[in-house]
Amino acid sequence: MKGRTRAGAGALAALLAVSACSFVEGAGVAGTLRVLAGSELADMEPLLAESAERTGVELVLDYSGTLDGTERIVAGAVEDYDAVWFPSNRYLHLVDGDRSSVRGETSVMLSPVVLGVSASRAEELGWVAGDGSVSGVTWEDVTLAVEEEGLTYGMSSPAASNSGFSALIGAASAMADSGAALEREDVAGVEERLATFFSGQELTAGSSGWLMEEFERRRRDASGSGAVVPDGVVNYESVLMSYVPEAGEDPLVLVYPEDGVVTADYPLTLLAGASEEAAAAYERVVADLTSAEVQARIAETTFRRPAAAGVSERGFPSVVELPFPARREVVDELVAAYFSELRRPARTVYVLDVSGSMSGSRISGLRRALTVLTGADEGPLSSRGQVFQEREEVTLLPFSDEPGEPVSFVVESEGADRARRGLAEEIAALEVGGETAAYDAVEAAYSLVEEAGEDGYLSSVVLMTDGEVNRGLDLDGLFASLEGLPSHAAAAPVFTVLFGEADAEEMERLSSRTGGRVFDARDLDLEEVFREIRGYH
């Protein structure tokens, strides 16, 4: 950005002059830009507040996942917004090829998706040079470390979060090593290595931010739950750089794959339907955010790279950017393969409240929400990860006075429809009545996970209850019974769904003890919540 504000510097100066004029003229008139933004951008709010003081334009950010937001744009469901701001528009431009939904975009900052690894582990793997830096490690080297040294890591879901999506495209492109943009025919050749790479994925998440929180929790609370602590985590460079280890904690070292990365470029994007006032406000904001001063501040406070050279004193290492596929099919098929073949399959136990209080609209809402998950895996990318996947083991465990009989289905590639039909029938047959012995049911769910043994599955439990637990174990009793579980079972998080009169505090305790997360369905559509949770399996 150096020199960008130099006096008389052509159009920029002209633009700044115009902006300054409009500002003076518009002083007192508070402009607003309504923005649908990636949840990653929450850390920009302090800088945006400062910017608003200079520009007179307030950015009102609503948050959403990148791929979810992309689909809203393509579906035209963004009338409430003037602009969108996600880590990347790459998938948007593949889907909306003629860019009819977008009026203009400007990259504001950058952050490559890389791997952070515990320093001691990196040392063991021989990745750390004398000066403490890591270089020369390729995606294949990471895969070899998974294969031969049992390296484990966390990565967000490619169907829910841009960092996981970028890592998948990056790993596949690097391993195909064609030197050019990935093509369909390249993918088959690298599936085996990719599957090996993903066999090290010990933790998944629906968002990059939550992934890092859970990674931190597991590192710092290693003894508490007994869950496996991954050696590393795939995330934005900025998120990894922001990680501050506690005293005595093993720091993270950043591994920049030498064969290349996919970088998020955070384009602030004006939507096609924006008004002229919004367009003017947009230009004012963009001019401010891309000014040398703000660019330096962004680097300083968020660890993201400036979108222009020379303004930051942070020594960001140079990286090789992998070409991003030019064809949508390549990307769609790769993401589909991730779920059906490459990743460790999911085992999900749905612990479902069918006590008397669930009668009426509640049970029908639950049936509807679950039925959506049995849908076929076609349609937009984000919904791919949301329906039950090939190889996935889905168990329904209804409870009221006591845990009911669990019914399990494995979604086989040939019999996928059969499993989905069977699930749909079971869901339709859920009957209500009785009290709420939720923690007995959760204990039973953990028994199922324990019995399954260490079979490579990533297991998790979803607890949906609409009232206070009034039968069987109390929460402390449940915690006591979870002591001493083998690590593969202890690693299974409980995702709790707050519904009706559920005890929010207990649900929070249960989720945080097990490495899960609370999803609040009291004010939201249950279907939407169930779909969101799917990003975490």
């Binding site: 052509g10 100066a13 990259s107 090593d177 222009a308 064809r327």
Partner: protein
């Protein structure tokens, strides 16, 4: 078939025009200026221009000079390929190539044309890349310190799918596994990428300018790969230049660009990286920025851009070459980019139909594989590049 000096015919049109007609227009225009000077608001002139020229027309100093001359010139960006059809709805259009200009004039029966400025197409390389290409024998440094790129040899590298790590030299030997492949704009919408097609098609067609009859599948699939292998195309012609300038050799090692983009950045900033070089492809092609007028006011804009010394000076600062070579030379000497003043090895563009046939065939390859066309350049807000010069 290579023209040794393309400039000789660049001014043909307006020289023909410059007779009594121009004098008459001039008198008329001066009259208008006088009227406007004393009478109030300047004459609004609307133009449709290739997006690469928006910065020039929106430069405050250019706007001020036009205002002094009695005009308020307002431009809207549109790709050279798509501006033809409704060109006559504006006062003038300004495409980025002689072929596009010829097509527009043919379509609307316009005889006049101004060629106020042009710029050669160049290959921009980061220092280590330039050095590696030199050691490979693909690039060389001329006596005057400017660089040449043997485009046929470069084409061979791409055909062998050579990677940066395969080239000699320590700087790139192991770290970059990507193919040696220039980044370009989108051939479906952008003039700059069409210029790439012009020179490469000449080389691939046994050093003959392509005619509609010589467009075959082998030729077009070779060309299409050079675009598709780059991956997702950039969203505008400005974006890849800024990425080259700002994001280092790992992001955009080699870029096909207008020479003017580099000179403009060197003169007005932000400057390109110090170790980056401008390579003159041999052969190359000139992007000729013409003005095709549809009204008297449009004609006057073309004339002023061509003749007014002050405007010519500003045009030079934007990195373009005008008849006034002195100003361009001065700027280059002052700001120091190693820019070649006399460029000999230049090819002619194929006729409009032949170039369209090539571009349509490339477009088809994108479509066959489900990649819809990228940004029509007119889909963008004029300055939504957001304060980026």
């Amino acid at each position: 078939m290579r023209a040794q000096d393309q400039r000789s015919d660049r001014y043909r049109r307006w020289i023909v025009l410059s007779g009594g007609a121009v004098v008459a227009v001039l008198v008329l225009a001066l009259g208008l200026v006088v009227i406007d000077r004393f009478g109030g608001s300047p004459v609004v002139v609307e133009g449709v221009v290739g997006s690469e020229k928006v910065d020039l027309f929106e430069d405050e100093r250019v706007r001020e000079r036009f205002a002094e001359l009695g005009y308020d010139v307002r431009v809207r960006p549109q790709g050279s390929r798509s501006m033809a059809e409704r060109a006559d709805e504006s006062d003038f259009v300004s495409p980025g190539s002689a072929a596009a200009s010829e097509h527009i004039r043919g379509l609307h029966g316009v005889e006049d044309e101004y060629d106020p400025f042009s710029t050669p197409m160049v290959m921009l390389a980061h220092g280590p890349m330039a050095e590696a290409l030199r050691e490979e024998g693909v690039a060389r440094v001329a006596e005057d310190g400017t660089w040449s790129l043997d485009l046929a040899a470069y084409l061979e590298l791409t055909e062998d799918r050579v990677r940066w790590r395969d080239l000699p030299g320590d700087a790139v030997s192991s770290s970059n596994r990507n193919e040696v492949l220039a980044r370009t704009t989108d051939p479906r919408t952008s003039n700059s990428a069409a210029m790439y097609v012009v020179v490469l098609s000449y080389l691939l067609n046994d050093e003959e300018v392509v005619t509609p009859g010589s467009v075959d599948e082998e030729l077009t699939s070779t060309l299409a790969r050079l675009f598709l292998a780059q991956g997702q195309p950039p969203e505008s012609s400005r974006q890849p230049f800024e990425q080259f300038r700002d994001l280092g050799p790992g992001h955009t090692p080699l870029l096909w660009a207008y020479e003017s983009q580099y000179v403009h950045a060197a003169v007005l900033g932000p400057p390109p990286p110090e170790d980056s070089v401008v390579m003159y492809p041999e052969p190359t092609v000139f992007s000729t920025h013409t003005i095709v007028p549809f009204t008297g006011a449009g004609d006057e804009v073309g004339r002023l851009l061509t003749e007014d010394p002050e405007l010519r000076g500003l045009i030079s600062e934007h990195g373009y070459r005008t008849e006034d070579t002195g100003r361009f030379r001065e700027l280059v000497e002052e700001y120091g980019p190693a820019v070649r003043t006399g460029i000999g090895d230049v090819v002619h563009s194929p006729a409009y139909e032949a170039l369209e046939a090539l571009l349509n065939a490339i477009e088809q390859e994108y479509e066959d594989t489900g990649t819809a066309p990228a940004a029509p350049e007119d889909a963008f807000v004029g300055r939504s590049g957001g304060g980026r010069t």
